[in-house]
């Protein structure tokens, strides 16, 4: 019997008690109407039992008579029934980039560990308010799935999946996102946690499709300090983490300014795309505490637009 590989991280490394304390008082509200199997705190697109009026609909045979709006029917000389919005539970789909580029660490934690912490924090938030959360680890060949669930035991499963292995595969995010699109029939919140260091177009297309299907898309970008600052003043041989055969021996002094400009341009490209599609993009460095990142984002999320 083959021995199971040791996990890359402890569960406490991924979701610490301090993070739990920081997130305990927060609520993750859906920005768009969602669909859920469970009764919950989020507005649903489905019309159902609720006190919140949505709109009037012309009566058709079979509609419950108790929903007839007599005042409106009398005014228009036709029968109208009232429709109400249904409160439902949120389904959170978290997609974590486990490509080898996420293994890069210069600020203490690897990008993947930081991504796992963010994912765990989000799952913790969702489960605490009764929502369900699932996980997709974009990996080489096949995606590791943890189907959405809403129990505390589910949180452990998610954490175990995150801690199982260090990043180290080729980038497969467009495929994973497409799989989400196929699997998640109910509208929910899709959170992608990645360094976004790849060609944005395929991922952006996949995310746009998810957005079009009614999912709320949330982007967490992780920036490695060294990759952002490019703190070199000598000749450096850069070896690609995903493909070790790709090497570049470069004098970094003349390259520094140009690299930084290009890095900023990529950031800008993502921001503009997110603005265009009304997608929240949370960009943070790996040396920032996760609870700070999540807390500040969730507080910003509940504030009225423009405040």
């Amino acid at each position: 019997m083959a021995q199971a590989p040791l996990p890359a991280y402890g569960l406490d490394d991924i979701l610490s008690a301090r993070a739990k304390d920081a997130l305990r008082s927060l609520e993750l509200n859906a920005r768009r109407a969602v669909e859920g199997a469970l009764h919950g705190v989020h507005r649903s697109r489905r019309k159902g039992i609720s006190t919140e009026f949505d709109h009037h609909k012309q009566y058709q045979p079979g509609d419950p008579l108790k929903h007839l709006d007599w005042k409106v029917s009398a005014r228009h000389d036709r029968y109208f029934v009232k429709r109400y919005l249904e409160d439902t539970a949120l389904t959170l789909h978290i997609v974590v980039d486990r490509s080898a580029s996420m293994r890069r660490a210069s600020g203490g934690a690897t990008k993947f560990l930081q991504a796992a912490r963010i994912a765990a924090g989000l799952v913790y938030l969702a489960l605490r308010q009764g929502d369900s959360a699932g996980l997709a680890l974009s990996d080489a060949g096949e995606t590791v799935w943890v189907t959405p669930g809403s129990t505390q035991a589910h949180l452990v499963r998610v954490l175990q999946a995150l801690a199982a292995r260090e990043a180290g595969a080729l980038d497969q995010l467009p495929v994973t996102l497409q799989q989400i699109l196929d699997r998640a029939r109910r509208k929910g919140l899709v959170a992608l946690v990645s360094d976004l260091m790849f060609d944005p177009a395929p991922v952006q297309r996949a995310l746009a499709s998810l957005q079009a299907q009614g999912h709320e898309v949330l982007l967490f970008q992780l920036r490695d300090p060294a990759e952002e600052d490019f703190p070199f003043n000598r000749w450096v041989q850069f070896q690609d983490l995903e493909d070790p055969a790709r090497r570049h021996r470069l004098d970094t002094i003349p390259l520094k300014r140009l690299y930084r400009e290009e890095y900023a341009a990529l950031q800008r490209e993502w921001r503009e795309w997110a603005r265009k599609y009304n997608v929240h993009l949370v960009s943070s460095r790996t040396d920032e505490p996760v609870e700070t990142v999540l807390t500040s984002y969730i507080r910003r999320r509940v504030e009225p637009r423009g405040s």
Binding site: R103, D195, D224, L255, R257, L258, Y259
Partner: protein, 709 residues
Amino acid sequence: MTFINPGFLWVLPAAALPVLIYYLMRFRSLKVEWGATYVLERVLEKLKKKLYWDQVILLALRTLACVALVLAFARPSSSGAAGTVSGSGMHRVILVDASYSMLAGEPGRARWERGKEVLKRLTATWGRGEKWSLARVAERVEWLVDGEAIEDAQASAARIDALKPAEARVEWAKALESVFAKLASEPGVELYFCADDQAASWARAEALRLPPNFAPRAYWIVPPLEEPSNLAVTEVRLAGDVSLAGHASPVFARVQNFGTRDVEHAEMEWLVDGAFAAKEAFSLRPGQSGWVQGEVIFDRAGSHYVTARVGADALDLDNRFSAGVEVVEQLNVLVLRDPGRTRKFDSSWDFLKIAGQSEKLNDKDDAPVFTLGPLVFSVHEGPLDEAALREKQVVVVDGASGLAPEAAARLRTFVQAGGGLLLSADDAVDAQAWNALLGDAGLLPSPLRAARLEQVAGERFQTLAAPDPERAAFRALSSAERGDLAEARFYSWFELDEPAEDARIPLRFADGLPFLVLERRDPGAVVQLAAGLNGRVNNLPVREFFFPFLFRLCTEAAAGAYSPRTVDRAAPVRLRLPGAAGLRGVTLHSEGREPLPMTLQPAPQGFVAQSAGAPEWSGLYAALAVRETSTEKIWIGVQGPRADSDLAPLGTEARAELVQALGLAEAPDWDRLDELLRASRGGAEWHHWVVLALLALLVGELLMERRFL
């Protein structure tokens, strides 16, 4: 194109250093696992070609900058002008006139100091490693630096500062022959003369011919001299090395006008032991020399010195000379009286007794003793014994007909011990016996040849010629005040043979025959007269000069006990020190110079001290003889020839010929020399262009680098 410092071209391969560093840095690159390769490749996709060319341009700029730096040190120049440009490959030779005429000028601003200042500024402009030589030219050419590489400006300046002048003159014609012979094979030579424009030094130099293929660029640093007057004291003499205390002693100084204008009513100051004693006025025309006579009085016995000094002028060094002298309180003189002379005026001693004060001082021997000023006479008749000679400085042999051979031997011993002998051959002397007796004893400087006798008080008599002006001993006795030896009349005298070379003849008869022969022995002295001192056959005792003449004869005889106190600079100083007791050592001192040690050699009745070599400079010296209980100071005047005092400059034509013959460019000061050097190098060197290119390359590199910041 040629290079002034071609040695630096060996460093040219170092220009590849930037390329080597480039590959070394590439080789030693830091390995980093990178997660943002996508960004990196986006940059490279856009800029790879540009980065490549940036690298190429930067490497080219750095390499060219290194090349330019090497070239700047190699100092490229145009081929035609390379020979005139100072630098490596050129051998720079400094010839410094170290004769004492270079000391002419104001104190501290003499030609010597000004010339050395210019040389120091000149050497400070020369680069490290360049070849140079430094020669001190005096009586001969002394190469102090011989083709060495320059270390730094301070070291070169120190070598120039260490140069010392010499009491010598330069003969440039002779010196340059040896310089040209040494340098003729050198491919490129630059000559720098630091010399005055003395006509005497440069004589015949215009006739010099440069060796074939030897055409040095020559510069003549010749600081100007404003003061035209230049007197020099060329000799100072006293009448003798021994003088009598309390009596006027004549002193003589020879002074020469080396200046270009008349000197009228100039003053000669006489100083005794450094204190003013007397002064005399004199006038001289340019080129003229003459004796100035003075008179000083020494107030006490011992070693003293007399200095003759004239006023400050162009060359202060030659304005004084000193002479040493031994002063005695009195001289004890023993007169050997011929007992056969009983007639009146047979001997001068009768006359002397009258002139002097007769005293009975020695009852035991019943010998008459009488004093005549500082002379204390004892008259002795009969066999000569040891006791009679005790404490006597001078013995006068008056006639000597009755002298026994034993007495002659005793007299020889007396002379060998430093005593003085005065031989007076009067008409009663038997020449043959005299020659036999004294000649056999080795006491006769000049044998008596034939007796000459004229009728006393008759028309025919012998007279004396004027004293030799070059000999001071009897020169004072030729004036109206002191009497004139020319008034002496001799009715009886002897013809003398010319004496040996070591004897001097201060006085001659009018016909040229010797009258007075002086033979200084070491120690002792013999003074021989060709006539008697008695008044019967001559008129000496009745002339004014008789007593001074007698004093002079006695001091000259007594001087044999002492070493000369005024010596020539060419020979080592030799000093006889009587008394062996407790002598520790003797050193020779002169103000401002290092003391010279003197070696001691035992001698009869004392030591002889001698300096290791001849003194380098004329002047006043003091021999300090350190004894157990005391220190004795003996003043010695050292006098050398004033060989380089003539500052007369070259005439216009001679100067022009010299300048043309040697290709000289004259520079009175640094500004002019600097101007000449710049003019000779103007436009020839490309140094500035190379430095400009280097700067441009460095600026280009900086601009390139700035783009990356």
